[in-house]
Amino acid sequence: MLANYLIGLREGLEAALVVSILVAYLVKTKRRGLLPRIWFGVAIAVLVSLGFGFALFYGPRGLTFEAQETIGGTLSIVAVVFVTWMIFWMARAARSLSGELRGQIDDAAEGPWWGLVLVAIFAVGREGLETALFLWSATEAVSRDTDSTWQPLVGAALGIVTAVVLAYLLYRGAISINLSTFFTWTGGFLILVAGGVLSYGVHDLQEAGVLPGLHRLAWDVSDTIDPTTWYATLLKGIFNFSPATTVLEATVWVLYVVPVMFLFVRGARRRTSPPAPAPVHS
């Protein structure tokens, strides 16, 4: 039960984090009108995942391992692209939101309407297929033998519920801080999340044999951080931290996080620093 709970928690967190921050952002900037787009994207991702999962689990044909890994890995990398776009989109919008302009932004100026839908789809859909397969197999376990095997499904469901609660708490916390603090912290946090997603995607592609170096480990702390514990689950769910990380994963993580964080922090400084004095002719 606990093991299944932790799986639900991990997969749920991976899906819910980005969405909760995006929602907090829209609420803070008084653009609740855009929220349906997010929920629309989430709904599409959930339905598609469940539908696919159902078809693959009960249908006559399964998905080969290679295809599953390739889809997972590609979606992860796509998700990184969108989350990165979102971080800078939020930051750019924040600049124009300074002072009295707040809340008067024309929706049309916010980029195409499906931008937010896509972010939500990828944030949730990335782990969706895997989770859906898990849930269907849990459902089958329940119907196969009704006396005691209700635990897996309940465990996984409780895990997902916990993830949603955690994401909601994060949302509440984010709502209560002021706007510029919000950008700095959530933006920086999302960059770390996206870095984790990227290296996870790379790992999937390494497992599928598309990328080399699966057995060149940068470190292996799985004896210290047991992957079955709750804190390993949280680390994995939030930052996609893997106790056994390959050199390529670590490299990609650094290559992504360092420059993006640099650009982001530079942008954040500019936002918060007082206007520069007018240049003086020398």
Partner: protein
């Protein structure tokens, strides 16, 4: 800003949908009769219903009867390459894993608790009419490629025996200058077929282990032991081997090389083994030769480098007619990249062989490394191309 975003969205969503359709085609509605394997994973056991299935679409039904989350892997014959896996199998749950497995030897592994090497067992896929390899039209291309590759390996092995014989004779006689000249030449034949030679797990450490890679307490023998004795300049407080010790190491090397040669005669290959071997040889270059680690004492790394590349290219060229049908763009890329790498190697050729590794400039090493990487990437797609 709309346009770039639109382009980005199209770029990133296209592969996703491509991956979907590809898969649907892959499965092709093949039935899994006789190729259904049930796996039961508990906290300390991994029960696999059968250890042998005919080649084709194999379905593993993995059930977790333990208390921890488990994973199930199908590993290649090296125990490292992941052929297929299913992760996140919670307690009391079953998951299905569908694999297109060609004939060969494999390992199955359950990994309760998701760490360590897992509980492993041998697994064999036997030849059958449903091999996911090639169509009948291509069978002739395949047969030719296999026959040629087998002949190449045997030929290299013969030359290895002859050159090693000569080398140990000179070394035992104390004719060090001549032995030093012959050392990289004899090893060339070893390096050309290194992935085949390495497949004999008992011979490889005895023959080709480097001092730095020894486990504590392991006895160091083979090529590199003799190498150090012939080029002791870099070693601290080195005591040269006595003529008697020399004879011991030399005879041991010769014995192992002869054993290798005997075993190589009986080997059969498959197209994916050749393709993987070709990729493996390039990986050898990247991990040992381009770094100058392999020939630490003699600095004759470029001889080995060239030999690995030779072996990889022969493997690829044998398969080229097949690749040209399944993925002509890949065949073209590989041909160009092999030529680019060879051009860099040619630039280091001297009257007696190659520039010594320690005489290369950092820029030259970097250029070589770049060319190796540029080749590795498309080469890693070779197996998929010959099996499609």
């Amino acid at each position: 800003m709309r346009k770039p975003l639109l382009v980005a969205a199209l770029l990133v969503t296209t592969p996703f949908f491509a991956a979907c359709t590809e898969n649907a085609k892959d499965d092709g509605g093949k039935s899994a009769d006789g190729r259904s394997v049930s796996v039961t994973s508990t906290d300390d056991e991994c029960k696999v219903s059968t250890a042998k299935v005919p080649a084709g679409t194999v379905t593993f039904n993995v059930t977790n009867d333990g208390s921890q989350v488990t994973e199930f892997y199908l590993l290649g014959d090296d125990g490292l390459r992941i052929v297929a896996e299913v992760e996140n199998v919670g307690p009391q749950l079953s998951r299905q894993l569908v694999v297109n497995a060609p004939a060969g030897t494999y390992f199955t592994a359950c990994k309760p608790g998701m760490k360590g090497d897992g509980i492993r067992a041998d697994f064999t896929v036997t030849k059958s009419g449903d091999e996911p390899t090639v169509s009948a039209d291509d069978q002739q291309l395949v047969d030719t490629a296999l026959a040629n590759y087998s002949a190449y390996v045997q030929d290299q092995s013969d030359q290895l025996v002859a050159k090693t014989q000569e080398f140990v004779k000179l070394y035992k006689a104390g004719d060090d200058d001549a032995a030093r000249t012959l050392y990289p030449e004899a090893r060339t034949h070893w390096e050309r077929i290194e992935t085949v030679a390495e497949s004999f797990g008992d011979l490889d450490p005895k023959t080709d282990a480097r001092e730095a890679d020894l486990e504590p307490g392991e006895k160091w023998t083979g090529w590199h032991r003799i190498e150090k004795d012939l080029w002791p300049e870099l070693a601290k407080n080195y005591t040269p081997l006595t003529p008697q010790q020399r004879a011991t190491y030399a005879d041991d090397l010769m014995k192992n090389i002869t054993t290798l040669d005997t075993r190589v005669q009986g080997l059969d290959y498959t197209v994916d083994q050749i393709a993987n071997g070709s990729r493996g040889l390039l990986e050898e270059v990247a991990s040992g030769k381009v770094t100058g680690e392999e020939e630490y004492w003699s600095h004759t790394d470029l001889w080995d480098f060239q030999a690995n590349v030779d072996g990889a290219r022969v493997g690829f060229e044998g398969l080229k007619p097949i690749v040209e049908q399944t993925n002509p763009a890949l065949a073209k890329t590989l041909t160009t990249r092999f030529a680019d790498l060879q051009k860099l190697l040619d630039a280091q050729k001297t009257a007696t062989g190659f520039t010594f590794y320690d005489d290369l400039t950092p820029d030259e090493v970097q250029d070589l490394a770049n060319a190796v990487n540029a080749l590795s990437e498309p080469l890693s797609q070779l197996t998929a191309a010959v099996l499609s």
